[in-house]
């Protein structure tokens, strides 16, 4: 308890000490006086001999305390006082840092959620997927029967769960319906994965029985966007697929983002066919199982393999399987497709940009601190003269700047928390797994970023401010000159650094923006204006016979055609920008002796009026006709690229192509159509084949409807939806437009979030550069007031004075621009110039070269004008300097 007493009784201890030291000095003085010195001389001699009284006292007091902590607390108090004393400076610095740190915190959150964080499931190492290998030697998801066999007959697993896929149609107000991807899951699915709902509950065992399955769990983002994150959503009834269901739960964002589904509903194994979607021609489910503790993957494998044997000759053809295999759960997430790779690209680009913003912000604050450091030269000098060591001074200045950075970090966290939803929304276009949520990890990273930059950038001004020449600094007549020019050089190089970083950021953004605009405006080969689309997916249980499908197509076309304002109606199974299926084709080459070429070719099934609806010209031969029906002879149309590649120099018309797996049915090529883009606006043109939709009768197709231009296309779409309803009241038509298709194309969807984020970072950077240049220039003008006063007094014109200011900031800017151009040029070497994977989409330079003049010129011009604008006010102030006032300072 001794220390406690000491803690509260320090004051008398210190008083004793001071008095004692005083008496000590007195005694010494008296003794000296006794030797014959005058009192004054004696006092001086005693003090000289004693040394630094304050320091001795301080050192003695230190004995009683925890010096490091107490010094720190003292510095902290002092720092807070200093910040309060200059609110303008503090606010500017804190906001600047908040922007820089906030940008990085947000991007870290996205990168973390998308790539760094482990799977959001309990003990994911114990989870496995079970697949089937079928006659085609491909890995597929198993069938419900196979699922039941694994579930009932294995002992290796704690739980075995299944997930199926379904389409849901949701309409908030009863008019246009929204198509939602859904998951049908066995009630144990969530507990197998170890996912607890954020709100509400998991499904119950009895809810997988017909009649009791009117319950749904919503994904986090669906709940956010459609129900405004209202906790009261739980227990509410919503209408899905024209059936009222009760919302019983909402999933947390982490597990929602790993699955694309917006709605989760109970899977009814025996009526799955009427509930779910067909995949690869069959009703299939994804099996997830959790290994019992201690059971190895190999043990589970051998057990499942035995069960698989019974399906080698299963009675139902659908359930036939060569083998069932067990695979580590993480495998699926470890091998991301091109989409994820693209998203990674995009996120890295934005991460670099956010780093640049942070550096600019830090440079800003460092130069502000430098300027203050010069102002505080006297203070530092006085404290040094009083015996404070340089380390101690640096520690105090660092505490002050760290305080600023931490405050900046705190504000950043608050702002990030505010923008959490919007950033998640922007980024989820790029990667559905990326989301932003301010949690412990994000908090720690922002703290680390704040502290690291505080030490990095707080050290420069602290080091600088404590380099004092006592003799110079304490002289009253030269308040600012000591270290002034050195500090100015340093400040100017910080500004130049900011300009250089700004240049790098702007060039990167500019190149990507130009690419985006090129992609958006690249010739797509068809006319998307005023074309509405209505897409339908036929249920597996109905419309299985080709004549029924044919009939539905005809009737829907007739219904739409009868509407006023409709110019033409076409049908395609894949719309432009949706991509296409591919098939191995045998192509009859013109030289009679050569064997036919076999090639994987993309193909689209279309109706006769499709090309004319999209205003795509035929180049040779004829379009499809109504007579190219199921009864008519098999025909095909190829695009120009196809014709050029496989029939160079000749016409393909009259030649034949056939599917490799039904080689007897030769289809005659009757026409060549002009090329247009089928997947992405910027894709390379590929050979494409077209077949009459009446001859292929696909299970999913879209009407393309060219209408007369209307102001409100939404209304027109709603009218079509209403008109199509009676064709079959149980079907859903998903309304859209051709322009929307382009907007939603993979490459624009991928590029847009990167552009948006980079644009906001670029904007931030410009604001920071303005603040930085303004601050430094203002300071430099204030510093040179006397010089300017003398110049004016000696007859310098006002313009010359303004020129003086502008010249300095422009010199600095040009230096920065030169360095920046060089760095930007080096950076562009890392820019991708082509897409990822077979889809060819991605974030890469398109239509612009790395050295695009316009981009570099634009960035230079923008930065120069930003600097000029920021120097404007200080220059005006310099022009108004009154020599009388300026010189009176003396």
């Amino acid at each position: 308890m001794m220390w406690l007493k000491q803690l509260f009784s320090r004051r008398p201890l210190y008083n004793d000490l001071s008095e004692e030291i005083n008496e000590h000095l007195e005694e010494k003085i008296e003794e000296l006086v006794a030797t014959g010195m005058s009192r004054k001389e004696a006092a001086a001699a005693a003090r000289r001999e004693f040394g630094n009284v304050t320091l001795t006292e301080e050192d003695s007091r230190t004995v009683w305390r925890w010096p490091s902590i107490e010094n720190f607390l003292m510095d902290l108090r002092y720092g807070l006082r200093m910040l309060r004393k200059s609110p303008g400076f503090s606010t500017a610095a804190v906001l600047t840092l908040a922007l820089g740190i906030g940008a990085n915190t947000a991007i870290f959150g996205l990168v973390d959620s998308a790539f760094l964080r482990g799977l959001p499931f309990r003990e994911p190492e114990r989870l496995v997927h079970i697949w089937t290998i079928e006659a085609d030697d491909d890995v597929h998801t198993p069938t419900p029967v196979q699922y039941q066999a694994v579930r009932n007959d294995t002992k290796s697993f704690e739980q075995v769960a299944a997930e199926g896929w379904a389409d849901y149609f949701y309409s908030a107000d009863g008019s246009l319906t929204e198509n939602l991807p859904g998951s049908l899951v066995t009630p144990n699915w969530f507990s197998t994965l170890g996912v607890r709902p954020l709100l509400g509950r998991n499904f119950r065992e009895e809810e997988q029985r017909a009649g009791q399955d009117g319950v749904v769990i919503l994904s986090y983002d669906f709940w956010q966007t459609r129900f405004h994150a209202d906790p009261g959503t739980i227990g509410q009834q919503i209408v899905l697929n024209r059936r009222p269901v009760t919302v019983v739960g909402v999933l947390p964002i982490s597990s929602s983002s790993k699955y694309g589904a917006k709605v989760f509903a109970p899977l009814l194994l025996n009526s799955y066919a009427s509930q779910g979607n067909v995949r690869a021609g069959k009703m299939r489910v994804q099996i997830v199982a959790r290994l019992k503790p201690g059971v190895t993957l190999a043990q589970a494998r051998s057990e499942v393999e035995v069960i698989g044997d019974q399906f080698k000759s299963a009675s139902a053809l659908a359930d036939r399987s060569k083998r069932l295999i067990v695979e580590d759960f993480g495998e699926m997430f470890r091998h991301p497709g091109p989409t994820v790779e693209n998203a990674q690209r995009g996120l890295w680009m934005t991460a670099v940009a956010s780093g640049v913003v942070l550096l600019i912000a830090c440079a800003n604050v460092a130069s502000l601190l430098l300027a203050r450091g010069v102002k505080r030269h006297r203070e530092v000098a006085v404290r040094t003269a009083l015996g404070s060591s340089r380390g101690r001074m640096i520690r105090q200045l660092l505490t002050e700047s760290t305080l600023l950075f931490l405050l900046g970090g705190a504000v950043a966290l608050i702002v990030t928390r505010w923008c959490q939803e919007i950033i998640t929304k922007v980024a989820s276009d790029m990667d559905s797994g990326a989301y932003l949520q301010v949690d412990a990890r994000v908090f720690i990273v922002s703290l680390a970023v704040s502290l690291l930059s505080a030490f990095g950038f707080g050290m420069i001004p602290a080091w600088h401010a404590t380099r004092v020449n006592l003799n110079e600094s304490l002289k009253d007549s030269a308040p600012n000159t000591a270290g002034g020019s050195r500090s100015r050089r340093l400040r100017n190089s910080l500004v130049a650094g900011q300009v250089a970083l700004g240049m790098v950021l702007l060039v990167g953004f500019g190149l990507l923006l130009r690419s985006f605009l090129y992609v958006e405006s690249s010739p797509i080969g068809y006319d998307p204006r005023n074309v509405l689309t209505a897409t339908i997916r036929l249920p597996a249980t109905r419309y299985s016979a080709p004549p029924d499908r044919d009939h539905l197509m005809q009737e829907a076309t007739e219904q739409v055609r009868s509407m006023p304002g409709v110019e033409s109606v076409g049908i395609a199974d894949s719309l432009p920008m949706q991509g296409a299926d591919s098939v191995r084709l045998r192509i009859e080459v013109p030289t009679p002796k050569a064997a036919p070429v076999e090639q994987e070719i993309f193909f689209v099934s279309i109706s006769p009026e499709y090309f004319s609806t999209l205003k795509i010209p035929m180049l040779a031969g004829r379009d499809f006709r109504e007579t190219d029906s199921r009864q008519g002879g098999p025909v095909a149309i190829v695009n120009q690229t196809f014709a050029k590649r496989y029939f160079p120099g000749t016409s393909p018309i009259g030649s034949h192509i056939a599917f490799v797996d039904s080689p007897a049915t030769w289809k005659e090529i009757v026409g060549v159509v002009s090329d247009f883009r089928q997947r992405n606006p910027e894709e390379d043109l590929r050979p494409l084949a077209y077949f009459p939709v009446a001859q292929t009768v696909p299970g999913r197709w879209s009407l393309t409807i060219r209408v007369r231009a209307a102001n409100d296309m939404g209304n027109v779409a709603a009218a079509f939806s209403k008109q199509l309803q009676p064709v079959d009241p149980q079907l859903y038509w998903e309304m859209g437009s051709m322009s929307q298709q382009i907007h939603d194309s993979e490459s624009l969807t991928l590029r847009r979030p990167v552009i948006t984020l980079l644009a906001s970072f670029g904007g931030l950077a410009m604001v920071l550069v303005i603040v930085g240049v303004f601050g430094v220039t203002s300071y430099s003008v204030a510093e040179r007031t006397r010089e300017i006063g003398i110049r004016v007094a000696l007859g310098a014109a006002r313009q010359e004075i303004a020129g003086l200011v502008f010249r300095e900031s422009l010199m600095v800017t040009f230096a920065g621009l030169a360095v920046g151009t060089f760095c930007a040029f080096a950076m562009t070497r890392f820019f991708p110039t082509e897409g990822v994977g077979w889809s060819g989409s991605g974030i890469f330079l398109y239509g612009v070269s790395r050295t695009d003049n316009l981009t570099y010129f634009g960035a230079t011009a923008l930065l120069t004008s930003v600097v000029v604008a920021a120097s404007w006010a200080p220059a005006r102030r310099a022009m108004r300097v009154d020599p009388m006032v300026a010189l009176r300072h003396e």
Partner: protein
Amino acid sequence: MKKAEQRDLFPGALEMMILRTLKRQPLHGYALVQHIKRTSNDLLQIEEGSLYPALQRLLKEDLVKADWSISSTNRRVRTYKLTAKGAKHLEQEVSRFEKMLEGITRVLAPGES
């Protein structure tokens, strides 16, 4: 704190001398400096900058105690007195020092191996 130790002869030397001096008679700060200076034949000059922190350390450790009193020269002084704990500590320190000194002397002594 660190600085005070650096000015010291070796860690603990100043404290030891203070305790030894106080064992003979209670003294106040100024007198302590004078006494040590005198007894060491001016060989050791105690700096006030080290003395006061050292005294505070001893106070904190309860090795000495201090009281305000009136000195022979009719001056209000703070006199330091050795405590029982201080006396014990001094004994230990002195014997440790003597051992150390003996060791050093042997190493430095010429001619012996």
